[in-house]
Symmetry: C2
Subunit: 562 residues, 2 copies
Amino acid sequence: MDLSTKVKSDIEIAQEATIKPIKDIAQKLDLHDEELEPYGHYKAKISLDVLKRLETKKDGKVILVTSINPTPAGEGKSTITVGLGQGFSKIGKKAMIAMREPSLGPTMGIKGGATGGGYSQVIPMEDINLHFTGDFHAITTANNTLSALIDNHIHQGNQLQIDVRRVVWKRVVDLNDRALRQVIIGLGGPIQGIPREDGFDITVASEIMAIFCLATDLQDLKKRLSRIVVAYNIHREPVTVADLGAEGALTLLLKDALKPNLVQTLEHTPALIHGGPFANIAHGCNSVIATKMAAKLADYVITEGGFGADLGAEKFLNIKARFAGIKPEAVVIVATIRALKMHGGVAKSDLTQENVEALTKGLSNLQKHIETIQAFGLPFVVAINQFVTDSKSEVDKIEKWCADNSYPVALAQVWEKGGEGGVELAKKVLDVIKKVENNFAPLYDVSSSIEDKVKTIAKTVYGAKDVEFSTKAQKQMVDFEKFGWNNLPICMAKTQYSLSDNPTLLGRPTDFTITIREFRPSIGAGFIVALTGDVMTMPGLPKVPAALKMDVNEEGKAVGLF
Amino acid sequence: MDLSTKVKSDIEIAQEATIKPIKDIAQKLDLHDEELEPYGHYKAKISLDVLKRLETKKDGKVILVTSINPTPAGEGKSTITVGLGQGFSKIGKKAMIAMREPSLGPTMGIKGGATGGGYSQVIPMEDINLHFTGDFHAITTANNTLSALIDNHIHQGNQLQIDVRRVVWKRVVDLNDRALRQVIIGLGGPIQGIPREDGFDITVASEIMAIFCLATDLQDLKKRLSRIVVAYNIHREPVTVADLGAEGALTLLLKDALKPNLVQTLEHTPALIHGGPFANIAHGCNSVIATKMAAKLADYVITEGGFGADLGAEKFLNIKARFAGIKPEAVVIVATIRALKMHGGVAKSDLTQENVEALTKGLSNLQKHIETIQAFGLPFVVAINQFVTDSKSEVDKIEKWCADNSYPVALAQVWEKGGEGGVELAKKVLDVIKKVENNFAPLYDVSSSIEDKVKTIAKTVYGAKDVEFSTKAQKQMVDFEKFGWNNLPICMAKTQYSLSDNPTLLGRPTDFTITIREFRPSIGAGFIVALTGDVMTMPGLPKVPAALKMDVNEEGKAVGLF
């Protein structure tokens, strides 16, 4: 990445791009006219009927992009995902990208987004980063309709005997709004409802977002929604959406949102951008429906998981792939020399200086993630996302290290060169798919105990010595067995910055214990969340929010967005 | 309206209708391809460039539909608006409808909507009544982004010295959620922000909704947004959006929503459905941009104001028409025999029985609204929205009363017969436009004092004897003059059920006083709200919310919606 001031910003590159009408992109995918629902000229929703029409067609190959533990230096996982898709197109393969939708909160908060960067972006980036086709608004509305129905039920007589101290369903906004984290609602006397403690999460943390991304069709969506546990009654038994009878209305509110959104990259590679659950208290992948649809429409599907391989890839493989019956063909593990140096102990301000020693030390982090992907039995390629500040000695070092260990590696210059910069990576991926044996299997059996499942993840994926369960967590495991919730996969909520549960331990920490503080049942989504510390489900705004630089110019164009 | 069980429901009629591709509707309006932004196949947004292209074209004639004071018997103002548009089409006129977008809260709460009824509906009704093109979600997001920026400003050092007890900007959701009316936010210690009292309104009550509906273009939108008063500082001076520097981001969030939405009626008459502010604390009309665009695209524009003529028409004429430079050609005053009988003292359960005496008594309500429209110098037609329960003697009575008073009247059967049932009304409207002198002028000069403006409305429109101002309201008038807010029109917040400020006084109350409890400055919208009593800005859900009957069937179609 050229950091000189002459470099164009992402939004400038995106706005100068030639964008094709979305119906042209759809045509290349052999979509029928009536299967495309245009949203303006450059975005469209695709009817779920496509999945029925192509039911017997052989699936394309799914390639998962993941990374080392993220650092403030930036890894560029989304940029590689987009660039790799463009790279596949460049070498004549029918490829498609399947990514998450950005959340508006971080967009308005901190400069940054989830549409790639440089010459590897999905466009129209302003639309995708703002309201897009309204999916997140539909999820916010469904979430808060449920909240209104719960409080109304209590207010109107509370037939289900909900314990107002044990309502676990929170309201959401798709914004960074710390003042809503802990609130008291229902004040003002008897006609304003029952006062109780509540809180708001950001929309991407809603269980409905996770459900939306794991549902296979509308009826499956409804079934999952009906299972959501919203509260406990005075006998401490779970109260569900089905008990309230709200699953029909929630499904209706999500009916159109459930159709995947088609857009294109700067080089016109088709992309489905759909859903976007948090990668801590949820599984952090785009929707199952989009990934499966992409596999029907293209020969190669490039998709990603949130955060590093310890969270994103682990959950993609143990939760999403398992539920959806997806067998990935290969995994791309993204790293940058800058980030590896940070894992080796270099401060962010010193990253422009060559430091082969720190790089060598930091490679231990990459090493651990490689071992994790190997534990899943999957072929992989290491992708080095190149920056202009990377020195030749540093690049040589990493290439030699990969060669010594027989790790397939490719340099990627997708930010600067778009698809051309991803050709080497695409070829290497094709190569490992062809030559390396694929023995993919999830790491644990869902029928094993909650304790065993957590221990498997902590030891195999994080490299932990042991796992401790708090008294509360131990009690919960007993309750969950009673409620019949023990046969579900585990969704770990852990810091993304470290393999351990301590965000300051970079590189490859050893000899550490993971502490499970508490569990949260996401019965609709179909997993048990294991919390290893404080998990932020509502971010705050920085001192100078990005929003304050945003504007619309005289021609009606977005400015200041990124 | 045939109330027998054999009658089809609105959603059944709407779903069985033949709907034309929206591009065919656009073609009839001579819209250029690039001016149409399709949202699926049956909805589209229209680029604001149309207004520039047709700047010099002569405007079509605007016809305002209003009604008597609403009663639980139902007046069917929206149904008449749609049916009249269809009636104009039937007699070969190029007509277009301009209406408000429905709010999701009431849709999920009480059976009902704002898309007309029977054979006079705008379609696709499920889409319009649910998320539509996301305009309200964009307004909700802009409103709550501003809230997050205010609380973040206070948390990050409060440079503007905002008095946390005097933050007047509230958060919103587009739902009926009584538990959010009064809340305490910012709990949980120093990193969660500053604790303070807050409350949520329904989205249609947001000042941003009113601004959105009065803005003439993007730059005017930004200017209005920047003027919003969000709080007072410790010196009791107003703090605005411009002080926070947030107007650019808010404009960006509303950029696409500002384009009017094109749909069609059951008989393919084009309709612009855009914006929907409350008719109590706001002005209750669809967007200025949509009304003006409709006037450029058609020869006759049928539009409506919220509630009865004392609120909706008064505000349309004194606020919207004044700001936008719209001169209505005629007003249609809708009444039903059922509702007039209620104004004459009949209980809802007795409405099916003939009662000419009560009808005669109830006509006093219609009489007052006719006088109001006459005071504005406008031609009008009384429209009787016919029900099968109306007896011949009752119909004869009302026709004779109109004849005796020389009031133009037409019977409308638009619910049952669609446009055919609106032909008589359409012809009568054309007739009065041609023959009756139009001396339209707003009722007051904006430069007169706040007190005088309120008195003019109360006396001329409501028939009040006098107006009392509370001590608080009197103090506010002094403050507002100091802040330079006295040259703005007044937006009355009054019960819709009575001409007075007492909802139980039906018919035509006399000898009553209107009490102004408090003012609220809507400086962005450009008016001063005068509150005459408790105004509900966040409705609650009923014991059995409509949402609980909603569902999606096996074919993916909406059911239980209306």
